[in-house]
Symmetry: C2
Subunit: 392 residues, 2 copies
């Protein structure tokens, strides 16, 4: 592929501003009862009105972030406010823990069993405080952040089904989300907290979860960082590992640690080698480190966010280091992603393809796909290519 960074920057910018954001602006906002519809079919029609807290908070985050970082469009702030007000009113139980889902009008459906609801609330309200300039969202953000800190060693509380002691597990998701969250909350936290969390995360992820022989990221390890031989212990989630690596690149770059930047790129390249489907193209969703059958029946499917996080990691890796392998892989992923996931006819991207790359679920949004990975990735890739263009 030609290295026309200007054209690439334009492609991402155009997709973000003229395709993806309009899709959500037009179809997803529940102006009547507050919050957002995320279950949207290919054309944007609402097929289910339940409100899933991850996606509600992520959409507040997206519109607040773009308002604050890109352009202060009043429409975007209004959309963010429509979610933030609904969530502040209905999203939490009496102890301030965030529910997992609500019905359309805000009645709780699923209990606060999931710490990531609180993570995404902290991210959303931190950015919404910045965007709106109001005080109250800061309080909501800090309360959610403290929930995460309090619950991080037992994220599921009494909903946790693991029997204590037999085979204790630490999951990659926890340090990753904590690092991401701390970066998002930076302006609200004392600077020592920031430095301490970031340094602990890089250390933990790159020592315990990274397997130095295979250079793969494991999803679950024992408390001492060793591997264990079970479905969970053998699990590789390529998209998650790659997303983790661009967080690490970003953190390492801030700290001027080019060795860590390069190590994170090495891991991205190893994961891509391991997870690329040589027969049909695209990256697998779940894999077993030893090549055994996974317990996830959806293991061979091609998911939008896995490919988008890879585009971010590769464009960022190339922007930071100029390594040729980043460009080669970027090209491969770019061709696959833009030709399989984008939907020029109705806007937004498809989310779920089968192994062969055919559409598996004809939706643009659902219980887990909302207004988040695609706009975030489009924005970040656009930034990388602008930087590359400026420096070339």
């Amino acid at each position: 592929m030609e290295q026309d960074f200007e054209a690439l920057a334009k492609l991402y910018k155009n997709a973000l501003l003229n395709d993806v954001l309009p899709f959500w602006e037009t179809h997803s906002v529940d102006w009547e009862q507050g919050g957002y519809f995320t279950c949207l079919d290919r054309k944007g029609n609402v097929y289910d009105t339940d409100k899933f807290i991850w996606l509600q908070n992520r959409q507040v985050w997206t519109f607040s972030t773009l308002y604050q970082q890109l352009e202060p469009r009043e429409d975007w702030l209004k959309i963010a406010a429509n979610g933030a007000n609904f969530l502040a009113q209905h999203g939490r139980d009496a102890e301030g823990n965030w529910y997992f889902s609500l019905d359309r009008s805000g009645n709780p459906l699923v209990q606060p069993y999931n710490i990531f609801s609180d993570c995404f609330a902290a991210m959303a309200f931190s950015k919404y405080a910045l965007a709106s300039g109001e005080e109250w969202p800061k309080e909501v953000a800090l309360q959610a952040y403290n929930n995460v800190l309090r619950r991080k060693d037992n994220p599921k509380g009494h909903y946790n089904k693991i029997y204590p002691g037999t085979r204790p597990i630490r999951s990659l998701a926890v340090p990753m989300i904590l690092a991401n969250l701390t970066l998002e909350m930076e302006w609200l936290l004392p600077s020592e907290t920031l430095e301490q969390v970031l340094s602990a995360t890089v250390e933990e992820v790159m020592t315990d979860f990274l397997d130095c022989r295979s250079m793969l990221m494991y999803e679950n390890v024992a408390p001492d960082g060793s591997r264990f031989d079970s479905f969970e212990g053998r699990l590789i989630n390529p998209g998650h590992g790659i997303e983790a690596m661009w967080f690490i690149m970003d953190i390492a770059n801030r700290r001027g640690d080019s060795k860590a930047v390069n190590q994170a790129i090495d891991v991205v390249l190893s994961i891509l080698d391991f997870a690329w489907d040589a027969k049909y193209g695209g990256l697998y969703y779940f894999m077993d480190a030893k090549g055994h059958p996974t317990q996830q029946l959806e293991w061979d499917q091609k998911l939008w966010w896995v490919h988008l996080e890879s585009l971010v990691a590769l464009s960022m890796g190339y922007c930071l280091t100029g390594r040729a392998a980043c460009w080669d892989w970027y090209t491969k992923l770019h061709e696959y992603a833009w030709s399989h996931f984008a939907d020029p006819e109705y806007g937004e991207w498809f989310g779920y393809l089968d192994r062969r790359g055919e559409v598996l679920l004809n939706l643009k949004g659902g219980k887990w796909k909302g207004c988040f990975h695609l706009p975030r990735s489009l924005y970040l890739c656009w930034q990388q290519f602008e930087a590359l263009n400026a420096s070339s």
Copy 2:
């Protein structure tokens, strides 16, 4: 397909006795530490040693049932005992609730959050008591049965994540398993209990879970039997509905209720019409009653048990009524199942195919596939075709 019932009876008998049971006899028994390995690759090699309580109990049930109903082979009783002794020693917590999984040596891994572990324990130990002639397994069976009765209105206890009141749900699984279980425990229960449970189940399933317009079985309904419009409320699980219908046929037949037998067949035929993949053949795993995207990414996969339960329902329906539609569908399902799932090279059947019928997971057993659906179905189909042969 030719109606050669003798040949069909022989086919099923031969597969059961000379293919499937030898596979499990050879590869799955953990003679060293007790219980069974169920994670077996295509050739029967063990790829994971964790012990999942559903599958452990189901294998005790299978070998006990065949010993008791088919032939008192000492080997089969030994295999059943190897599981029953292991489970009696390690399977339950201090309150007598059944764990979900154990490690190889019997240490608990996952807590007793799942009432079906107790169901399968009751079935297993009831049959093992009959097979072994011993007293103690009766106690184990009755204790598990009482757990089920005690927990059936809140099967997940404090692990239940549903917020009370907003949208209460009743699931088809609970009455179905209770009916099946009660039939299995018949010899241990007072006859009024039996009659009462069976009659309540037929009533509940055919009134509340059956949608009279579409003639489809819904997985979840409101407490008053009405439908609700959410992912759970729209969910159709074709294999589960069809399995439920042969339970109902079996119960209705015992009670001489030919109207209910025919109604159950009508439902089977409707589900097959709805769930048959006209493009690639086979039955879908999950569907949305309104045709919306499902939340299950594995919705379009073709699973062994779905097709096996259909073979049982259709051969039973044909045997009981001689309805031509049963035979037509039986033929279609027979051709699909025997040509896609059976593995003449290494024995046993594949479990998980993609939509096109290609093998998705190259395993013969795993976390959810063990020695149960296939041998049970082979045995039941064999019996139907023997009866048809005798009467023709």
